[in-house]
């Protein structure tokens, strides 16, 4: 076990960092906000951590924390800027934000090390720290998916106008989501830099958008658990797929295409649907059809018609 851990430590670290990065896209998506600003925040976190560690030799918690704060603030400002955008346009605007930061990194002179980046960001950050932080984040996000918090975010995503009529300030939720996304992305970027001791424009580039989106699409976009499934699969798949050599990318593409077409809610959605069915069956069996009898009699013809594939009342009226 210990031997296995040592030879896979890089992958284990990569899994948790990818997970945080994927979450920086998944959290906005859960509120119906199609934003890639988390990738730009990853760059902010990565460079802030590197610069502070190399120049000021600060502790990792300060180096990462500073990046998180800067990215959160940037997220808030970005949210104000793109307040009127939604859907694809919002996605494009936030990709532009991320690309813009890449350009800044390349042209940052001595501060960012230009195209070659920064080296020698040595710190005391360990895998245990990374895992602890990620678990804390997951606990917080899991809580935000439950109870009234979860219901209200669901409402903002599914039907913003309804959410407003339920007294939810949709714009405020959107602003918060940008801030959280920024913090998560920066946290992932900062930790990655300190573990690898180096950062360059290449490592914070557009490919991260693809990676994060792939994880969410295949894993499932509506819960942290989906992002976790995706992060595990796509961090470990390359080492599993070594035998196909240069065909790896093709296999990737096929996996994503199949997921997007046949399992739009991701692997997590598949699991949840299975669980729902099991529960439903469990509810019907012991009572011997009691749940059917409990339905108001007046509805029966409607239900029968619907069951036979007939038009719904909505379509007929």
């Amino acid at each position: 076990m210990n031997q296995w851990y040592l030879s896979h430590e890089i992958l284990i670290q990569g899994t948790f960092i990818s997970l945080l990065l994927a979450l920086s896209i998944q959290v906005p998506l859960r509120a119906g906000v199609f934003s890639f600003a988390g990738i730009g925040s990853y760059a902010i976190g990565a460079y802030t951590a590197a610069i502070l560690t190399i120049r000021e030799q600060v502790a990792p918690v300060v180096a990462i924390g500073a990046g998180v704060l800067i990215a959160a603030a940037a997220g808030y400002l970005l949210a104000l800027l793109v307040a009127r955008l939604s859907g694809l346009y919002l996605g494009m605007a936030t990709i532009a934000f991320s690309l813009f930061l890449g350009v800044l990194a390349t042209n940052g002179g001595d501060l960012t090390g230009g195209a070659t980046g920064l080296f020698g960001a040595l710190s005391t950050l360990t895998t245990a720290h990374v895992i602890t932080i990620t678990v804390l984040v997951l606990v917080a996000l899991a809580a935000s998916e439950r109870g009234s918090f979860g219901r209200r975010v669901d409402a903002v995503r599914e039907d913003p106008q309804l959410a407003v009529s339920m007294g939810i300030d949709v714009n405020r939720v959107r602003r918060r989501v940008f801030v959280i996304s920024g913090a998560l992305g920066a946290c992932a970027g900062g930790m990655n830099t300190l573990l690898r001791t180096t950062v360059s424009p290449e490592t914070v580039g557009f490919h991260l958008v693809v990676t994060a989106l792939t994880m969410i699409i295949v894993g499932g976009a509506l819960s942290w658990a989906g992002a976790a499934i995706g992060a595990v699969i796509f961090t470990w798949l390359p080492s599993v797929l070594q035998f196909v050599g240069e065909w790896q990318l093709l296999v990737y593409g096929i996996v994503v295409a199949i997921a997007a077409v046949y399992v739009p809610n991701g692997l997590l959605g598949l699991l949840q649907e299975g669980w729902r069915r099991l529960r439903r069956r469990g509810r019907r069996l012991p009572a011997g059809g009691a749940s059917v009898a409990a339905a108001p009699v007046a509805e029966d013809p409607e239900e029968k018609l619907a069951a036979l594939g007939g038009p719904t009342a909505e379509a007929r009226s």
Binding site: S148, Q161, G167, A313, E314, S317
Partner: protein, 267 residues
């Protein structure tokens, strides 16, 4: 505004003006969806808005709930202009509404959908407690009981018949314990027994002091349920008054009803 909305609606003074619109208009380019409507909603009464398809009833409801921006005119709640209040604040001030189409959240169970209605009044401590232990607040239980959807609480909206889904929507609106309830065609797509049931429910709520604004197609139901009717056609005010008088009004009949609705008034 006091915090008296936290208790069940009572009727301190039936007949005082709760909500008022003055010369409200909503234009989309050249289309005058609503054009100069004055209405007065009195506490503990049901005001019905009658009119053919496309006459601007739903747009008027949108304007009153601030989901549709006003082109002109003023909207008053308790005599205070709320034309600049963010729409999300209105729910906190005791206005709840339903929509013309079913708008339940597909991934939440019926119970959770109804709870969404009461969430805005949930104290902070209760929100955190709910993360650990599932609790259903009393207004939710009450709304479930009143609308008779207790048998379908664990189902998802996609599994409901249309009539039941509409009742769940009414339950969700009631779960916020509103002072003013606005219903946009609550019985559309329901069968006759269900319609009567909903009409009865609305009357009972009125008798307990809940002020309502009702947009509906079913003229018989409007006559039986409302205290007052406002008839609209092409965004404009056509007639107003006691239900029986309004449906007998020649202009209204010409615009919408047809002569046979004399009978509805006579019943």
């Amino acid at each position: 505004m006091t915090t008296s909305q936290d208790t069940a609606p009572t009727s301190p003074a039936t007949g005082t003006t709760v909500l008022q619109t003055i010369d409200v208009a909503v234009h989309y380019g050249g289309i005058k969806a609503v054009d100069g409507i004055d209405l007065v909603l009195e506490s503990g009464r049901i005001l019905g808005i009658l009119g053919p398809n496309g006459s601007g009833k739903s747009t008027l409801l949108g304007a009153v709930t601030r989901l549709v921006p006003l082109t002109r005119g003023r909207v008053l709640l308790d005599g205070e202009d709320y034309g600049r209040t963010p729409p999300a604040r209105l729910a906190h001030r005791g206005i709840a509404r339903t929509f013309q189409t079913v708008r339940l959240l597909p991934d939440l169970t019926v119970r959770e959908n109804i709870q969404l209605g009461s969430d805005l009044k949930l104290p902070r401590a209760a929100r955190w407690r709910e993360l650990v232990r599932r609790a259903v607040p009393e207004p939710v239980t009450e709304a479930i009981e009143r609308t008779g959807v207790g048998d379908v609480l664990d189902l998802f909206p996609g599994e409901l018949s249309y009539g039941t889904a509409r009742r769940v929507e009414i339950a969700r609106a009631l779960a916020s314990r509103p002072r003013v309830l606005m219903l946009d065609e609550p019985t559309a797509g329901m069968n006759q027994p269900e319609r009567l049931e909903v009409a009865g429910l609305l009357r009972r709520l009125r008798d307990e002091g809940l002020t309502q604004l009702l947009v509906e197609h079913d003229v018989q139901m409007m006559v039986d349920t409302c205290d007052r009717l406002l008839a609209m056609n092409q965004g404009r005010h056509v007639a107003e008054g006691a239900p029986a008088d309004v449906v007998r009004d020649p202009t209204v009949q010409e615009a919408y009803l047809g002569k046979r609705w004399n009978r509805a008034a006579d019943r």
